[in-house]
């Protein structure tokens, strides 16, 4: 079976500065694939290109057998690829419920015969049922993260791109979110997951891709990555690796 997502020789330059150099990897359907790397490794850039937020300088992206290198973000969403944001971007003057409604009505669909019940179910699934009627601007950081995820889930992605959904969360909140990601995967959604928190990555991912200075350093199952000297060097420096 061909991979759900395949990235080949992807390059992206920002005014001559290479943010990504010849990056290539594949994500199998049903996987949770982790994407890790030190600050500035190009994780978010790679993410934004796959989600259609910015175009690559060169290279190709294939999704479900189609060349989707130059699609726009709303086209990506309608085809089934949707992202969350590292820094949450709620529609501030709209209610929590309205935020999710946008994803439901303009996402991949289909919308059930009772959209209102569907929104309620999504909100309760991420633990936002009690703040459904509140303005998104008034939510606390943890709830804004949940909203970011809820809104994206409402768009019914086949491939969910999660950008640091755990940052700024407490230990308990983080475990809840990770549990939620596993449940989402069990329902058949493939997940590409950018994360800084190693424990989060190690406990949820089937496969991990490591980026460093815009290039792919290595990839493999979490245990192998954790003990790879090159990865330890990238994160902690040369002496630590030896």
């Amino acid at each position: 079976m061909p991979p759900l997502l395949s990235v080949e020789r992807l390059n992206r330059y920002f005014a001559g500065l290479a943010a990504l150099k010849d990056v290539g990897f594949e994500v199998e359907e049903g996987q949770i694939c982790g994407l890790i790397g030190p600050n500035g490794a190009g994780k978010t850039t790679l993410f934004s290109i796959i989600a259609g937020s910015i175009p690559p300088s060169s290279g190709t992206i294939t999704y479900s057998g189609k060349d989707v290198t130059h699609w726009k973000s709303f086209q990506a969403v309608r085809a089934g690829v949707a992202r969350t944001h590292q820094i949450t971007r709620p529609f501030r003057s709209m209610t929590t419920r309205q935020n999710v409604e946008v994803g439901l009505h303009f996402g991949r669909g289909p919308v059930s015969s009772s959209p209102s019940n569907e929104v309620t179910a999504i909100l309760e699934g991420v633990g936002l049922g009690h703040v459904a009627g509140r303005n998104a601007a008034s939510l606390c950081v943890g709830d804004q993260r949940r909203l970011e995820l809820a809104r994206t889930l409402a768009a019914k992605p086949k491939l969910l791109l999660c950008d640091e959904v755990c940052s700024g969360l407490t230990e308990t909140e983080m475990n809840e979110v990770l549990e939620l990601l596993r449940r989402i995967r069990e329902r058949g959604t493939t997940i590409l997951y950018v994360e800084h928190n190693m424990r989060a990555i190690m406990s949820t991912c089937d496969q991990v891709v490591v980026l460093n200075f815009g290039q792919k350093l290595t990839e493999g199952p979490p245990l192998k990555i954790q003990n790879d000297p090159a990865v330890i060097e990238a994160y902690l420096g040369r002496t630590a690796a030896n």
């Binding site: 989600a51 937020s53 726009k72 973000s73 709303f74 969403v77 309608r78 949707a82 992202r83 944001h85 971007r89 709620p90 529609f91 501030r92 003057s93 709209m94 309205q98 409604e101 946008v102 994803g103 009505h105 303009f106 996402g107 991949r108 809104r151 994206t152 409402a154 768009a155």
Partner: protein, 327 residues
Amino acid sequence: MRATSVQMGHFLNYRVAAWGTTLIVLGILPGCGIGPNLTRLLFTALVWIITSVAWNLLGGFTGQVSFGFAVFYGLGAYTAAMGINGGLNPLAAFAISGLAAAIASIPIGLPTFRLRGPYFAIATIGVSEAVRVVMTNLSFTGGASGYRIAEHGPFRPLEHYYTALGFAGVAVVISAWTHYSKFGLSLQAVREDEEAAADIGVNPLKAKLMVHLQAAALTGIAGGVYARYAAYIHPQGVFAFHTSVAILLMPIIGGAGTVAGPVIGGFVYGLVQEELVAAFPQFHLLLYGALLIVIILFEPRGVVGWLGKLRVFIERTWRKSAAASVG
């Protein structure tokens, strides 16, 4: 759950009742012997309300502040004027006015909607000024000396009044529908964060172009209704920059992003505008500028926001005094 839906129903009924009463009052007022002067003022206010509601679709609901609505107003005015002179039924001429403005909104929107915030606003000023200069020099519309409408038959102010009232009603219905529909939801999302909206499936450019089209059509019709009434139009009037500013001021005074706000703003502006110009021929724009600053600083939701605060205050005082009388 049940309680909220009942409250919601109650809330909607109250709104529908308020709008119905307004419509009935405006409908019977001219028959109550208010005199030609007040009828004329109300007619002017109604025309302004149409443009104000139209601007709010794009500027209030969608957050795209345009300084270029005089283009649609003027285009509508000239189209209707030429249509009526060509022997067209006035209503048909107004329909063509709306159509012409709607078509013009596409080439204007396509390049300008790629710009954000203040850059979009500046671009619309440029488009508007360019169109005004072209119209000033276009010989077949009379250039700077303007264009006269020669309609046969007697002048019937009430016919003009009810035409304006009808179109204002249509504008409010479109505005309310837009606000509460799925389309309106996507417009709000675009206003809040365009990229985030695109990241969950909204096509921002399409949403902006579509609402721009609606707003342009309504503004064009308003221009047409005004032109037929005035019987004489010229580029320094209908295409002028101050027309664009007026169309933007009214919804902001009343309350941008709400359904009632632009109507209140248009009404107030329509009634006081003439007196203000007469009293302060040089300074009236300065007064609006000062008013705009005060509104943006203290109550961005305009009169509607202020009324909301007043209601909360009255309810609180009421509850306190009720509690005091019990205790």
